[in-house]
């Protein structure tokens, strides 16, 4: 099986290198063929691994490929850990990636950077696979930073655009803030466990559970809490949790919707995956779990609210991604790891659907992305309309859809949790359901219903997009509808993740969830009478009243009544403003200050050039003594002689 695992990572890597270095030689079709074959191999191998591990009874694989460094008493290795969690991620990553590759042929058709783009997305696939398949923190960090690199390249793909190259720098730096915490977490693990291997680290965890550390005089922390929070800071960067979420909306600068999809459906899940992978660690610290819970809840609600005031179709979906990541994070916080991963999977499908459907709308609208300038598109593009509707229903958790099962599970898990912060989190995610439904259907109604808000000529030109676009939409609509119904039972309650995740008995959210679960069908029928679903329907209803029934009156009225909160929300709560002014501006100011005052004035001005000046001054003065007159020198000699004799007579003797 080792060869299969190697094939999974190497096929996309080799394809990426070929497309990147020899793009000119192999041409456009060569580039897409080689990368698509590479990713298809990876998908096939992943599917085979999935089958062998899940149905073939293959045990967990944990082994090294090669030694990266052996130094001191440590051996840092590159290696794989393949269990049920890994194979699920492998299939999701390669499947989404393959779809992206195929869709790209159509979407990037006229772009001069065609080969380069294929090289990037294959490299991304490789990095993400290295991340999820790793058996140690070093390789995880490698994958972690490598997806950051590719994201930097993808966001800045259209490097001529000022906004794109600003966004990619920002994305990289914000992610680096998270990585800073993450790296310290890794260092802490090495410090106390003397290993970066997952398995060995988990084995040594019981010894670490009682260690207290004091990094600030008088403040004692439990070691596992410190490590957990440091690692989670990394996850906050990659999975875009408040306040490190600022890069994700801007990342929409990349060639949409493809790179948006890569970010939203794949890369951002790395943080969620990492926390789940480290469940044995996080379980030991209630404080860290509470922290995760609260951060997730804040993200889920506050980012959803921002979705309401966006008018760019991609940005609405981007904020919805932030909000849904918040839901996954909340689930992690209440030890409901499997619902978090379940939502990760369903979200990957319906969010991919929404992004590609939005892309279809954008193509039809000739690259107009402002939903205020759309309207009435339902009649013009029926396939996009229906598939978009399916995606939207899944997103709001409409009974029966994939999103319903995963989101409902998360909300009930939060309700059952007794951790500090769980009550706040419950109300936040509960209110978030309403918000999600409202912004989703605001967008939906504005795009597909009502009067067309464009010239008649433009409206006449709108037509359904070609098959290369609509076929992936239809393919994605299917899992967005049914995958939740199919897999909830085995995945959450069938012990699928038993080998990968660890939950303490004291964290009872999952247990109470299981007690309530009586099969997917029962959950569906019961869904109609739950308050969560009614919240969602209320959100849809409000959107319908505002944007269908009275589109001329109500939106303006609301905007006037809530003028002040609206402004705050349009400013994204001021995060960007603060970062630009205080953090970026402050750093430059500090740098300039240190340079001008420290280097230029103090060190060079005072010490270096100053001592040169002193030497020069002394030389100038002392030169005056050397007059060249013999009698001056004779006089000084006599003075010296007298001085010497006096000394010998009085002191020396």
């Amino acid at each position: 099986m080792e060869k299969v695992y190697l094939a999974v990572v190497l096929a996309p890597l080799i394809a990426s290198i070929i497309a990147g270095l020899f793009g000119r030689q192999i041409g456009r079709s060569g580039a897409h063929w080689v990368t698509i074959i590479g990713v298809a191999i990876a998908l096939a191998a992943s599917a085979y691994a999935f089958y062998m591990h899940v149905f073939g009874g293959l045990p967990t694989f944990d082994g090294a490929v090669y030694t990266w460094i052996a130094s001191d008493m440590f051996t840092f290795e590159i290696g794989f850990l393949i269990d049920h969690l890994t194979v699920m991620m492998m299939v999701v990553v390669t499947a989404v990636s393959l779809m992206v590759h195929i869709y790209t042929i159509g979407y990037m058709h006229d772009d001069p950077g065609y080969q380069r783009f294929f090289s990037y997305i294959s490299l991304f696939t490789f990095s993400m696979l290295m991340l999820v398949m790793s058996n140690n923190l070093l390789q995880l960090f490698f994958g972690w930073e490598a997806v950051g690199l590719v994201s930097y390249l993808l966001i800045g793909f259209w490097y001529k655009r000022e906004s794109a190259i600003f966004a990619n720098l920002k994305a990289f730096l914000v992610n680096r803030v998270g990585d800073f915490g993450f790296l310290l977490g890794i260092a802490a693990i090495l410090m106390y466990a003397d290993t970066l291997d997952y398995a060995t680290f988990f084995e040594r965890l019981p010894e670490l559970a009682d260690i207290k550390v004091e990094y600030w005089p008088g403040v004692e922390w439990s070691l596992v809490t410190v490590i957990s929070i440091l690692l989670f800071i990394g996850a906050m960067g990659k999975s875009a949790q408040v306040p490190l979420h600022v890069w994700l909306p801007d990342s929409m600068e990349g060639p949409t919707p493809i790179s948006a999809l890569i970010h939203a459906a794949t890369m951002v899940t790395a943080g969620i995956f990492m926390v789940a992978r480290f469940s044995p660690l996080f379980e030991l610290s209630d404080a860290a779990l509470s922290f995760i819970l609260v951060i997730g809840a804040i993200t889920a609600l506050s980012m959803g609210l921002l979705g309401i005031v966006q008018n760019d179709i991609k940005r609405v979906i981007a904020y919805s991604t932030l909000s849904q990541l918040g839901y996954m994070t909340v689930a992690l916080g209440v030890s409901a790891y499997s619902p978090a991963l379940f939502h990760l999977m369903t979200h990957a499908f319906f969010k991919a659907l929404l992004f590609l459907a939005a892309g279809s709308v954008i193509i039809a609208m000739h690259h107009e992305q402002d939903i205020r300038k759309m309207g009435g598109l339902a009649k013009k593009m029926p396939i996009t309309f229906i598939t978009f509707l399916i995606g939207a229903l899944a997103l709001i958790g409409f009974p029966g859809t994939a999103g319903f099962y995963s989101k409902e599970s998360i909300i009930y898990a939060v309700e059952a949790s007794t951790l500090p912060g769980a009550t706040f989190a419950y109300w936040a995610v509960f209110a978030g359901v309403f918000v999600t439904a409202f912004y989703t259907f605001r967008m939906f109604f504005l795009v597909f219903f009502g009067e067309p808000r464009m010239s008649q000529k433009e409206y006449d030109h709108v037509k359904e997009t070609p098959k290369v676009v609509t076929v992936p939409l239809m393919l994605l609509a299917v899992p967005s509808l049914i995958i939740g119904f199919l897999v909830i039972e085995p995945m959450l309650y069938g012990g699928y993740f038993d080998d990968s995740l660890r939950v303490l008995a004291t964290h009872g959210a999952m247990a109470s969830l299981e007690a309530k679960f009586h099969g997917a069908w029962a959950m569906f029928t019961h869904g109609w009478v739950t308050s969560v679903v009614w919240m969602a329907l209320a959100g849809v209803a409000l959107a319908a009243i505002m944007y269908l029934a009275m589109p001329k009156v109500l939106p303006q009225l609301f905007a006037r009544v809530f003028a002040w909160p609206k402004r705050v929300m349009e400013e994204g709560y001021g995060f960007d403003g603060f970062n630009n002014a205080v953090i970026a501006g402050g750093s430059r100011l500090l740098g300039r200050g240190l340079w001008q005052v420290g280097d230029v004035r103090a060190i060079d001005g005072l010490v270096v050039n100053g001592s040169a000046a002193v030497v020069g001054y002394l030389a100038r003065t002392w030169r005056l003594i050397q007059t060249g007159y013999l009698y001056h020198y004779a006089f000084v000699m006599i003075l010296g002689l007298i001085g010497l004799l006096t000394w010998i007579v009085f002191v020396g003797a």
Binding site: S71, L153, L173, F180, L184, A188, M191, G598
Partner: protein, 506 residues
């Protein structure tokens, strides 16, 4: 069989002799001078590969030893030898010299034969410094290499070259005078200048501290450490590309090498006593200099400051070891070798990355004759291959995993956590600061719309430039992906050094 050859002497004297010979070519036969210099530098590199082939990684003892009495009256011997610490640095030197010779090909038109001669002579001197087993031989080469560098900056430098050369010379010369005094003192105590003898020389704490400080001044200037670093940006800005490359890639390493060969083993108690100072200065370099780098408008200055910041990891890794062993929370007492090997890897990696960065700036300077960031913008539009390589080098400078820049920083940060949470935290800030200054520069120079007519006319890399930068990119990625062979070479010597540094002489 290989060991019976005087390989080290060849590595020292062949380039020096060849350098003198190149001068005979004269201005008119510059092209033959170039080919001759290239052949010699490749030959020297090939000879240095003999060190790798014949090297025994199992022992910490000196290898390829040569020993001839030089000035018997003072116990000075011409003694050469290498271990796992000096061997990689010598190979780095011989390799970098080839790059410099190739990079100068069409660029240096004025007195090319003398330019190449200076670099070959300097190569021999640098090899001598790394191979010296006698303190006076070390001192001889340590000082000697200043002269060719002085000439390189002074003749082929920019408009403020006189200020820069004098600053460079005085700074480094002043530093090394103190070292000479310390060496003479130790000679009077031991009756020998042999470095292994000085390693074993018992000294009181006061003696050690004074000697340590004398060494510190010499090596701190070379590395350079804050606050004696201000000569470096000036020297880099004025130096021609080749000068900058050698300066950053090799000369700075001699300071770090000095700490490993002299300070740590000869004055271990003083090093342990003053480790707080060294750690403090290293952290200042990493953070303070990082912020200073951010606001530079001259690309060479920016990379020069970035070098100082990266060298902070070298000194941090070397001196954090005392806190690693004294930290009671570090129950396994591990991390010392990790820190020292991290420092070594960082030196090699910085040699490659800084060479690549300065060569890249040289590529731009040769075309538009400006080092100002604001003179560029959108270079990738006209130079796509160059743009791609610069992004690789920038990512290496940022310490992205998969590049050599990551390896050393990663090892040092992990090891410093074993000493203290706060040291690791401050050191890890480089993740953010380093990314900020490097990628901000890349954004302004490489990406964006074509900014002006000058950028519009740029030609992409020619074969020669592509070869030089391509080889560097390959090595940077290779070391990033598989650093173990490099680390393996050092193991025995580093463990021996750790032993010496952590054993008290009192």
């Amino acid at each position: 069989m290989l060991t019976s050859w005087p390989i080290l002497s060849l590595l020292v004297w062949l380039p020096i002799a060849a350098g003198l010979a190149v001068m005979l070519f004269g201005e008119r036969r510059a092209n033959s001078a170039r080919w001759f210099a290239l052949i010699v530098s490749v030959a020297v590199f090939v000879i240095s590969l003999g060190l790798i082939v014949g090297f025994n990684t199992q022992t910490a003892a000196m290898q390829f030893v040569e020993h001839v009495p030089w000035i018997p009256a003072f116990g000075i011997n011409y003694a050469l030898g290498i271990d796992g610490i000096s061997m990689p640095l010598i190979v780095l030197t011989t390799f970098t010299t080839i790059l410099v010779v190739v990079a100068a090909w069409e660029v240096i038109k004025d007195k090319a034969h003398q330019y190449l001669a200076a670099f070959l002579i300097m190569e021999g001197m640098m090899n001598g410094t790394f191979a010296a087993m006698d303190a006076i031989v070390f001192y001889f080469f340590f000082e000697g290499m200043l002269i060719p560098m002085f000439i390189i900056i002074g003749i082929w430098g920019g408009p403020r070259r006189v200020y820069a050369t004098i600053k460079f010379f005085l700074y480094t010369f002043l530093g090394s005078v103190f070292m000479l005094v310390a060496l003479i003192y130790m000679y009077f105590q031991s009756g020998s200048f042999a470095i292994p003898v000085l390693h074993d020389l018992p000294l009181t704490l006061t003696e050690q501290i004074l000697i340590f400080l004398a060494f510190l001044i010499a090596f701190a200037v070379k590395i350079p450490m804050w606050p004696v670093h201000t000569w470096l940006p000036d020297a880099h800005v004025e130096a021609p590309t080749g000068g900058s490359v050698i300066l950053a890639a090799i000369m700075l390493k001699i300071g770090g090498y000095g700490f490993l060969r002299f300070s740590l083993p000869m004055t271990p108690d003083a090093a342990a006593e003053l480790d707080w100072l060294m750690i403090l200065l290293s952290l200042v370099a990493i953070v303070y200099i990082g912020f200073v780098a951010m606001v530079q408008s001259d690309m060479k200055k920016l990379v020069a400051y970035s070098s100082i910041s990266h060298m902070g990891f070298v000194t941090l890794g070397m001196f954090v070891i005392f806190m690693i062993v004294s930290n009671p929370a570090n129950t396994s007492a591990s991390g010392v070798t990790l820190a020292l090997e991290g420092a070594m890897v960082q030196m090699i990696s910085h040699g490659l990355i800084s060479a690549a960065m300065f060569l890249s700036i040289g590529v731009l300077y040769d075309r538009l004759h400006s080092r100002e960031i604001s003179a560029y913008g959108g270079v990738v539009n006209t130079m796509p291959w160059f743009g791609a390589l610069v992004v690789v080098f920038a990512m290496a400078n940022v310490g992205l995993p998969g590049t050599s820049g990551f390896v050393g920083e990663f090892m040092v940060i992990l090891a410093s956590f074993k000493a203290s949470f706060w040291i690791a935290l401050i050191a890890a800030l480089t993740l953010i600061i380093g990314a900020a200054y490097t990628l901000w520069m890349v954004k302004r120079v490489i990406f964006g719309e074509v900014k002006n007519e000058g950028v519009k006319t740029l030609d992409d890399l020619n074969f020669r430039e592509a070869w030089v930068l391509g080889v560097l990119a390959f090595l940077i990625v290779l070391i990033g992906v598989w650093p173990n062979p490099l680390v393996e070479v050092m193991h025995a010597s580093i463990e021996n050094l750790a032993q010496q540094a952590l054993t008290t002489k009192l």
